[in-house]
Symmetry: C2
C-alpha cells in the first residue's frame, strides 16, 4: 500500500481555516489504499512572537522528511513587514530549491472578473523561484543619512535560468496550444535580459513543436488585461513573476481561487503548495474565507506527486462548484469544503 | 513678447505623423504674443543606420538650447532591441536629469476600457527617472557559457528619492483628494525598500494635509484593475513605474491617449514630453495613428512651462473630442489634429 506524508503549515489568520478544508478534500479524493500521514507545524506570527524564530535548520530537517508541504498563509500586522516573508517564505523556497514557482490562471465559468466581456483565460505562469532580485543581495551605506545609497542586486545564472526554462517548455509542450512566452525587460536590463533570451532560444531548439514569443514585462501587463487569451505558458524571472501573477490572479477570478506551487521538480526536497492569497486577518476566525484556492493548491500538490486522476477530480469539482455559485446563497468556509469533499468522493 | 523654443524629435514610424498634429494644436493654442520657434532633430532608426549614432554630446548641447523637447516615438524592428532605447531614450533622461517621469491616467467619458463598468479613473504616477535598475549597472561573467552569471544592480540614493518624493507630495497637495501612495516591494527588496519608505515618511511630515498609504507593487497591479478609483497620486521607482504605467494606460483608455513627461523640475535642462505609445511601424504612413496622446503630451509641456490656461484648453478639447467619438466615423490622424486645433483656438 502507498503512503503520502504531508507537512501541514496552517500559519496565520485564515490559514487555519482554509487548510482544514484543503485536507478534508485531500482525504476525500485519495484512493483507499493510500495512507495519508500529516504532521502539523506551527510556523508563523505566533511562534515568531513566542520564540523569535521563523524557520530554523532543525525545522528544515523535519520538513524534509515529508513528500510535500501544504501551507495556508503566513503573515500578521503585528510582525514588521519583511520578517516572515524573508525569514520563512523566501527562506524555505531557497533552502528547498523551489525553482519552479507554478501559478495557473484560469477563469472558470461563472466566476467574476474585473474585465469586460468574460474573456477566455487559461494560462500558467512559470516563475523562477531562486534567483533574480530575490536573493537578498544588496545593502546600504550611510544608512539613515541624506547621503544614503542602497543597492539591490539581481543575480541570474545560466544554470538557474536553463532549468526553469526547460520546465516551462515541457509544460507548454504538454498543453494543446503549445505556446511559450518569455517575459522580461531585455531592452533595459540587458545583462540578465540577454542571458534569459539566449537560454530561452537555445532550449527552444529542443522543443521545435512549441511556438514562442517575447514580451517586455510592461507590455505583458497590457495584454493581461486587453487580450489574456493570447497566453498559454509564460516563463519569467522571480520579480516579474511576482508582479504579473498577482495581476493574472486579479483578472482570472481574484486571489480567492488562485493556487500556486513552489516546486522542486527533481524531488530532492519536498515542494510546497499554497494559495496565492495572504492571511487576511480582518476576516480570520469567521468562516468567511474561500477555501477554493487552497483546494486547487492541493490539486497541484497531487499532480506533482503523480496523482493526476485525483487532481483532475478536484479541478472538476471546483469548476462545478464555482459554476453554481451565482445562483446560491453565500456559504461558509466549512460548507464549501464539505461540498467539494462530497463532490470529489462522489 | 514671449518666445517658446522647442526641440522637435519626430523619430520613427508614426512619430512623424503624431508630432505634426501635436505642433498644429500647439500653434493654435498659443497666445498671439508668444513666438514659437521649433527645430527638428533627426534622431531614430534612420540616423542610426546611416551614422551609427544615437545621441552624441554635440546633440545634447544643441538640445540644451531649447525650452522643451517634443518627441514622437523612437524604435524600429531593424534596430536590435535595446540600442535606441538605451542609446537615445534613457541616455537623454539621464543626461538631462529627468528625475520626474510624469504619467497621468484619466479615463475620459466615452473612452473604452478593458474593465467592466467604466470605473472613475483619475490618477497620476510620478515615476523616478534616473535611478533604480535603470542605471545600466550590472554585467556578466563567462558570458555565453553554461557557467554564465549576469547581474543587474538597482542603485538608489536618499538624494534621488527625496527629490522625486517631494515632487509627488506637492502634486498630491495640489489635487482635491490630496492622497499619495508609495508603491515598492519593501518586504523583499529591503535595502532600497526601507530607504524609499523612510524618505517617504520623513518628507511626509512637511505635507501634513496629504494622506498616504503604501502598496507592494504586486498588490498595486490588483487594485489597478479591481479598484482604480482608489488612486490619486502614486510615487514609485523607475522599474515599478515602467510596469504600472503601462497597466495604468491600458485600463484608462489605452496607449492611444496616454501622455508622459520626462521632467527636470528645476529647469536646469529641457524636459521632454512624449506619448507613451511606440513607433507602431505596422501602421506608419497611413494616417491611422491617434495623435491624442501626443496632443495631451503637449498639454503637459505647456503646464511645465507655466502655460496653465493653454494646457487646460487642450485637455478640454481632447475630452470633448473623445466624448463624441463613439457616434462618429473613424477619422485620420490629420483630421483629428485639425479638429483639436480648431477646438483650442475657437
Ligand atoms: C510575500 C512575498 C515574499 C511573496 C513574493 O514576493 O514572492 C508573495 O508576494 C508571493 O507572490 O508569493
Ligand atoms: C522603451 C523603454 C526604454 C521605456 C522604459 O522602460 O522606460 C518605455 O517602456 C517607457 O516606459 O518609456
Amino acid at each position: 500500500s502507498r503512503s503520502l506524508s504531508l507537512a501541514v503549515i496552517p500559519g496565520d489568520g485564515i490559514g487555519q481555516e482554509v487548510v482544514a478544508e484543503g485536507l478534508k478534500v485531500l482525504s476525500a479524493v485519495l484512493p483507499q489504499d493510500v495512507k495519508l500521514e500529516t504532521r502539523e507545524f506551527d510556523f508563523g506570527a505566533k511562534r515568531y512572537h513566542a520564540t523569535g524564530q521563523t524557520l530554523t535548520d532543525e525545522d528544515l530537517d523535519r520538513l524534509k522528511e515529508h513528500d510535500a508541504i501544504l501551507l495556508g498563509a503566513i503573515g500578521d500586522p503585528s510582525v514588521p513587514s519583511g520578517v516572515l516573508e524573508r525569514g520563512f517564505l523566501l527562506k524555505l523556497r531557497f533552502a528547498f530549491d523551489h525553482h519552479v514557482n507554478l501559478r495557473p490562471s484560469r477563469l472558470f465559468p461563472g466566476v467574476g472578473t474585473p474585465l469586460a466581456g468574460s474573456p477566455d483565460i487559461d494560462f500558467v505562469v512559470v516563475r523562477e523561484g531562486t534567483e533574480g532580485p530575490y536573493t537578498g543581495n544588496g545593502g546600504s551605506i550611510r544608512t539613515g543619512t541624506p547621503q544614503e545609497v542602497a543597492t539591490e542586486v539581481s543575480l541570474n545564472t545560466a544554470f538557474g535560468i536553463e532549468r526553469v526554462v526547460r520546465d516551462a517548455y515541457a509544460r507548454a509542450q504538454a498543453r494543446p496550444r503549445k505556446k511559450l512566452t518569455l517575459v522580461h525587460k531585455n531592452n533595459v536590463l540587458v545583462h540578465a535580459g540577454h542571458l534569459w533570451t539566449r537560454v530561452f532560444e537555445a532550449v527552444g531548439r529542443e522543443f521545435p513543436d512549441v511556438s514562442t514569443d517575447y514580451l517586455h514585462v510592461d507590455a505583458a501587463t497590457i495584454f493581461l488585461v486587453t487580450q489574456p487569451e493570447r497566453f498559454d505558458v509564460i516563463v519569467t524571472d522571480n520579480l516579474f513573476g511576482d508582479i504579473i501573477t498577482d495581476l493574472a490572479a486579479a483578472v482570472s477570478g481574484g486571489i480567492g481561487v488562485a493556487a500556486s506551487g513552489n516546486i522542486n521538480p527533481g524531488r530532492e526536497f519536498p515542494s510546497m503548495f499554497e494559495p496565492v492569497h495572504g492571511s487576511a486577518p480582518d476576516i480570520a476566525g469567521q468562516s468567511k474565507a474561500d477555501p477554493t484556492a487552497t483546494v486547487l493548491s492541493v490539486a497541484l500538490l497531487l499532480r506533482h506527486l503523480g496523482y493526476d486522476a485525483e487532481a483532475d477530480r478536484i479541478d472538476s469539482a471546483v469548476q462545478a462548484d464555482l459554476a453554481e455559485r451565482a445562483d446560491r446563497p453565500v456559504r461558509s468556509t466549512v460548507e464549501i469544503g464539505d461540498e467539494l469533499a462530497a463532490r470529489v468522493s462522489g
